[in-house]
């Protein structure tokens, strides 16, 4: 059969193609995607090895999971529509969550403000001007109680974008649930808890790598015993891509970080099949539809192989790469913001055709400010239209077998694997980050893309082509300084109403545990219960662990 195709292709090139090329040429000399993969004019069975169907693709819900992690995918249940949100105070965010749930959203995703993400209380001088700006300010259990007021934690799943102080916020969540009468074994949700990509791309680190990895493995161990339905980490490529990586680098650096977490957990004495099933992933969805779909499929296949071959996982669940997707924030333009609705639609298609388990769609105004309620609604409706009207959810992995998609899937897996081998040689992801290798690779790709946009090699509609004069956008969401004043005031009042002796006792025993090898979760839960603040807890850990100093590579 392949000889026949070769002959026919030659005939086509000589008789048909050459004439067209001679007369009209093509738009570009060279077609390439973000991952620097050269794109053929046309793909045929020669570009994929279809003899390997069973080993390379197989069936959904089975190793190597290329076609999806569940046998029925969206025929069984649609993905979780989960809009990342949070701003100002716990009370205001609580209202936004209730609005989103009333609009058909099926899970909550919490954005914390930067002081919270870096373990500072709202009254810390470093927090000035930042309180409640990019997410909700949480200082103590008291705020967390307000945040989830009237939201039953046994009915919903909650995702928390929290990394360096993840253990503290998880502890608060556990205690709030307990006060609602929900025990922790019933809790569903995810904490991001992925410190390595903070060092490499996102910046909200506190402690040095070794101590951070200890906190993470403590959470793995604690949750494997007490929280069977909770995802203990969301290993994130999203921010690596936002920082400018290519699609293939996104897969490579994310899975390399994943390898580092698995290794850390195993060397702390955990059995791989006890925790690996609760690892989850988080990817970006950009505009190059087929490259993105191939990226998700390649990531699933590569992770399955890594878990099986490198770590000898036995459980199928340990080999499954389950992931959340967010559409690409960096693809949104401040120019002609309505155009972003079209971009988000393409990215939604990519995520769904790639088999995502949950999705956040960005709002059209996010290149300008935090989204308004109206624009969040359009973003959610975009998912609902794709889910209920497009028909793409009615069969599993509909693009499998496309010569193009399968070839891209192979290529992305190959490039990612080469990077992982290189990172192994550098001593693993932690070393590769400490030396600045990963940051430099990302920055190089970001710079290359910027140059392509500025030379018009890459067109961004409304930015370097099809521009219009436009008045400033009205009606953006702003967070005023009153939020900060309120939050600081409430923190002060709250602190004066606590039992200080109990707080001190809890913080002292936290210090003792941090200095030993004990699992830190129980003492953190105890401190949180006594209303010790996030800042107080993190300061104890700062004293014991020290703080991370970054390398700056330009």
């Amino acid at each position: 059969m392949s000889n026949k195709i070769v002959d026919k292709q030659k005939e086509w090139v000589d008789n048909t193609l050459s004439k067209t090329l001679e007369r009209y040429g093509e738009r570009k000399d060279n077609f390439e995607n973000s991952s620097d993969i050269n794109l053929n004019r046309v793909y045929t069975p020669l570009d994929t090895n279809s003899d390997d169907y069973v080993s390379k693709l197989g069936f959904p819900g089975e190793y190597p999971f290329t076609r999806g992690v569940q046998p029925t995918m969206y025929r069984g249940r649609l993905w979780t529509m989960r809009q990342y949100s949070g701003f100002a105070t716990a009370k205001e965010s609580n209202e936004r969550y209730k609005f989103l749930l009333s609009q058909g959203q099926t899970g909550i995703s919490i954005a914390f403000d930067l002081p919270t993400q870096i373990g500072y209380d709202s009254d810390d001088s470093i927090a000035e001007g930042e309180v409640g700006k990019v997410g909700v300010a949480i200082d103590s259990l008291h705020d967390m109680e307000v945040l989830f007021d009237g939201i039953p934690l046994d009915k919903i799943s909650t995702s928390m974008t929290i990394n360096a102080p993840a253990a503290v916020l998880l502890a608060m969540y556990i205690v709030v649930a307990e006060k609602q009468g929900v025990s922790m074994d019933k809790l569903k949700g995810t904490i991001q808890n992925d410190i390595l990509k903070e060092y490499a791309a996102r910046g909200t680190y506190i402690f040095p790598p070794q101590q951070s990895m200890r906190l993470i493995t403590d959470i793995f161990e604690f949750a494997s015993k007490n929280m069977p339905s909770f995802n203990t980490i969301s290993i994130s490529g999203y921010h690596i891509r936002e920082a400018g990586s290519t699609a293939a680098q996104e897969v490579a650096f994310t899975l390399a970080n994943g390898i580092a977490y698995v290794e850390a957990a195993i060397s702390s004495g955990l059995d791989v099949d006890k925790f690996a099933g609760r690892l989850s992933f988080f990817f970006n969805a950009h505009n190059d539809l087929f490259e993105e779909i191939a990226k998700f499929r390649a990531a699933r296949r590569l992770w399955a192989k890594i878990m099986k071959e490198r770590f000898n996982a036995k459980s199928q669940r340990s080999m499954m790469l389950r992931f959340h997707t967010q559409t690409g924030g960096s693809t949104l333009t401040a120019q002609q913001p309505d155009n972003n609705i079209a971009r988000v639609t393409i990215q939604t298609l990519a995520a769904v055709l790639g088999g995502t388990q949950s999705l956040h769609t960005n709002s059209k105004d996010e290149a300008l400010a935090l989204p308004t309620t109206e624009s969040v609604q359009i973003a959610l409706r975009t998912q609902q239209i794709v889910a209920h009207e497009s028909g793409i959810c009615d069969t599993v992995d509909p693009l499998a077998g496309s010569y193009y998609v399968e070839s891209l899937t192979d290529k992305i897996e190959e490039i990612a694997n080469e990077y992982i081998n290189k990172i192994d040689k550098l001593g693993g992801a932690v070393k590769a980050i400490e030396s600045g290798y990963i940051q430099k690779e990302i920055a190089d790709s970001a710079y290359k893309f910027q140059k392509e946009v500025e030379s018009n090699e890459c067109i961004v509609v409304g930015v370097n082509k099809f521009q219009v004069e436009e008045p400033p956008v009205e009606g953006l969401l702003t967070i005023d300084l009153e939020t900060e004043r309120q939050q600081v005031k409430s923190l002060k009042e709250h602190k004066s109403s606590r039992d200080d002796v109990e707080v001190k006792k809890a913080l002292d025993s936290l210090k003792a545990s941090a200095e030993s090898n004990d699992n830190l979760m129980p003492v953190i839960i105890d401190a949180v219960r006594k209303y010790a603040t996030l800042g107080e807890i993190c300061n104890v850990l700062r004293d014991v662990f020290g703080e991370y100093k970054s390398v700056e590579i330009l």
Binding site: I126, E130, A201, T204, A243, A334, Q335, A446, Q450
Partner: protein, 132 residues
């Protein structure tokens, strides 16, 4: 002074960790023949102003995406002034709504560049505002 290269401090005040833009601007300015120093993340206005004075820079190019620009940028210009270094040009880049421009310009920020600005525009702005 004719041969002295323009010296620029790329500064990240506030707590946000988004430095893709800062790094791209840093490389672009370097490619345009300037000497560039990057502060790294999470620097206080005091640290930034100290670095600017110590490094004897002509420009402090501030990158901020956390929304704290109205708070932090005037602080930087005021501190420069207090230290007799207000000949240093202060520019800003990041997610900054247009309605905040006036406030920032009145408080010593001379060039504000929002997402989608070609790097060449920043290069030209700095070259035309720094005299050697």
């Amino acid at each position: 002074m004719t041969d002295r290269k323009i010296r620029v401090l790329i500064a990240k005040p506030g707590l946000d960790g988004h430095d893709r833009g800062a790094k791209i601007i840093a490389r672009s300015l370097r490619d345009a023949g300037m000497e560039v120093i990057y502060t790294g993340l999470r620097r206080t206005p005091e640290q930034i102003v100290n670095a600017a004075i110590q490094e004897d820079v002509d420009v402090v190019a501030v990158s901020i995406l956390s929304g704290a620009h109205n708070h932090l940028l005037p602080k930087i210009s005021n501190l420069l002034k207090e230290n007799g270094a207000d000949d240093i040009l202060v520019t800003a880049g990041g997610v900054i709504p247009e309605k905040d421009f006036k406030h920032l310009e009145e408080n010593g920020v001379q060039g504000i560049f929002t997402p989608g600005t070609p790097t060449s525009e920043v290069v030209d702005f700095i070259k035309s505002h720094v005299e050697h």
